[in-house]
């Protein structure tokens, strides 16, 4: 899912940074309008970023190969409007420490991976409601699955659109760039696994620390 350095033309790299800057600024402003508490917010974003990074190192066996989780759905559920800074920081560390992705493509990668994560968080909030009660197990797990699966699938669609639009500009023939239309299909196993993983994790968090996923305990 990460586009490496050197693959994209400079205009797209710059555009990616500009759009990420705008989206980041907007999401920070909207996030701060909510229940912003600096001593709570920064550590929560940092720990979720570290989890986003750590989970990408866990390889799940899927014969004949293996895949790694993205956890953008979970990031979106935990952080809501603060998903973009977390994804930006996580991708930065992945690029700096392991060379996954790149620094010139960081803006584009943040949009492709982070925006679906943000939308996943909003989707989860919408599905679980804003009431003062925790929805039932089925409700939480369904919302978790949908939000968890939505993020990687949407990312793969965004990546496909991007590659089909950009590769011909860089000189790659359309016969080659056209094959990227199958990309969402290739990400289908990951989509399902992410959905199951997010559903189970969200269920666990709803029992142990519901406020972490925006749920409130009903004491009534």
């Amino acid at each position: 899912m990460h586009l490496p350095d050197g693959l994209l033309p400079p205009s797209i790299c710059l555009g990616g940074y500009a759009l990420t800057g705008i989206a980041l600024s907007a999401s920070l402003r909207i996030g701060a309008k909510g229940s912003y508490n600096r001593s709570e917010t920064v550590p929560t974003i940092a720990v979720m970023t570290a989890m986003f990074f750590s989970l990408s190192l866990v390889h799940l066996p899927l014969p004949p190969s293996s895949i790694h989780l993205m956890a953008t759905g979970l990031t979106g559920i935990v952080l809501g409007w603060y998903t973009l800074p977390a994804v930006l920081a996580g991708l930065f560390f992945q690029a700096v420490m392991f060379g996954h992705g790149g620094l010139t493509t960081l803006g584009v990668n943040t949009l492709v991976i982070g925006l679906p994560g943000l939308l996943s968080g909003l989707l989860f909030r919408f599905m679980t409601g804003r009431g003062d009660h925790i929805p039932g197990k089925a409700g939480i797990m369904t919302a978790g699955f949908v939000a968890g699966a939505f993020a990687p699938f949407t990312s793969s669609i965004l990546l496909t659109i991007l590659l089909m639009g950009i590769l011909p500009i860089t000189g790659v023939p359309t016969s080659v760039s056209g094959t990227t239309i199958w990309l969402p299909l290739a990400y289908l196993p990951l989509t399902v696994i992410e959905g199951i993983f997010t559903a189970a994790t969200v269920w666990f968090l709803s029992r142990v620390h519901p406020s972490l996923i925006g749920l409130r305990i009903n004491n009534a």
Binding site: G6, M51, A89, V96, V172, P173, V176, F197, W203
Partner: protein, 249 residues
């Protein structure tokens, strides 16, 4: 994880100027798409590599990460892109345009990844973060990066410990996907909850030590003549790369 404590490239250089220079150079390398611009990019990369003192092994390790998908792309391009036939091997025809495009693409990627590797491995990470703060990156973003850098090794270690504990208790012995999916969400959730409590304390300690929004004063020295000279050198190479690229060279 790579050693990010820094190397020879740190002596006597103002971090903001150095970071700006690197950003300019890396950005302009994305323009390199012809023989001349690629030669300039390669020469600049080689000079930086020699000055940085980092090992070739480190650079090669990073270059290996995108190697396989890029190799596939280059082979497909060489076989499908273009009209002129460079070489015919049985039913396969290697085309000139596709081969050249592949060579330029690989050259550009090698230059960018090598320069990025020099920036992140030969310069202390904290120094780069402070330079980013000095260049106007929001304090909140820098705090997130600092705290994440501090917490990543803890999170990775916590995951390892929990996986070992789960195995010792009879969970997750099998290496299959279903077994993995049974235990992984519980482990991830546990690490997240523990981390949430722990990072709040770490963040409070960081603020007490003078880090954090509003607490940090600008400690950068004024750039000296040498720093300006170095930035000018970076800027000149970047401008040359862009001009050569615009002329199609």
């Amino acid at each position: 994880m790579p050693d990010m404590t820094g190397g020879r490239f740190t002596a006597g250089r103002e971090p903001r100027m150095r970071l700006m220079g690197f950003v300019l150079l890396i950005g302009s390398m994305t323009f390199a798409d012809g023989p001349c611009s690629l030669a300039v990019a390669a020469a600049a990369t080689a000079a930086l590599f020699l000055l940085s003192g980092i090992s070739l092994e480190r650079v090669l390790r990073r270059l290996m990460i995108p190697a396989i998908p890029l190799a596939i792309l280059v082979i497909v391009l060489a076989l499908t892109s273009g009209e002129r036939i460079l070489l015919g091997i049985g039913p396969l025809q290697i085309r000139t345009e596709g081969t050249l495009f592949g060579i330029y693409l690989i050259g550009r990627i090698v230059c960018i990844i090598t320069t990025v590797t020099i920036l992140v491995e030969a310069v202390p990470f904290g120094e780069n973060l402070e330079a980013m703060r000095g260049l106007g990156v929001p304090n909140m973003m820098i705090d997130i990066l600092m705290l994440t850098a501090r917490y990543i090794p803890v999170a990775v270690e916590d995951m390892k410990v929990l996986r070992r504990a789960a195995k010792l208790r009879g969970f997750g012995h099998a290496t299959g996907l279903i077994s993995f999916m049974y235990s992984l969400p519980m482990m991830a959730g546990s690490v997240l909850v523990r981390g949430h409590i722990r990072t709040s304390r770490i963040h409070a300690a960081m603020i007490l030590r003078g880090y954090g929004d509003g607490n940090r004063t600008d400690t950068h020295e004024r750039p000296g003549a040498r720093d300006i000279l170095i930035l000018s050198a970076f800027a000149s190479v970047s401008l040359t790369l862009i001009l050569l690229s615009l002329k199609g060279l």
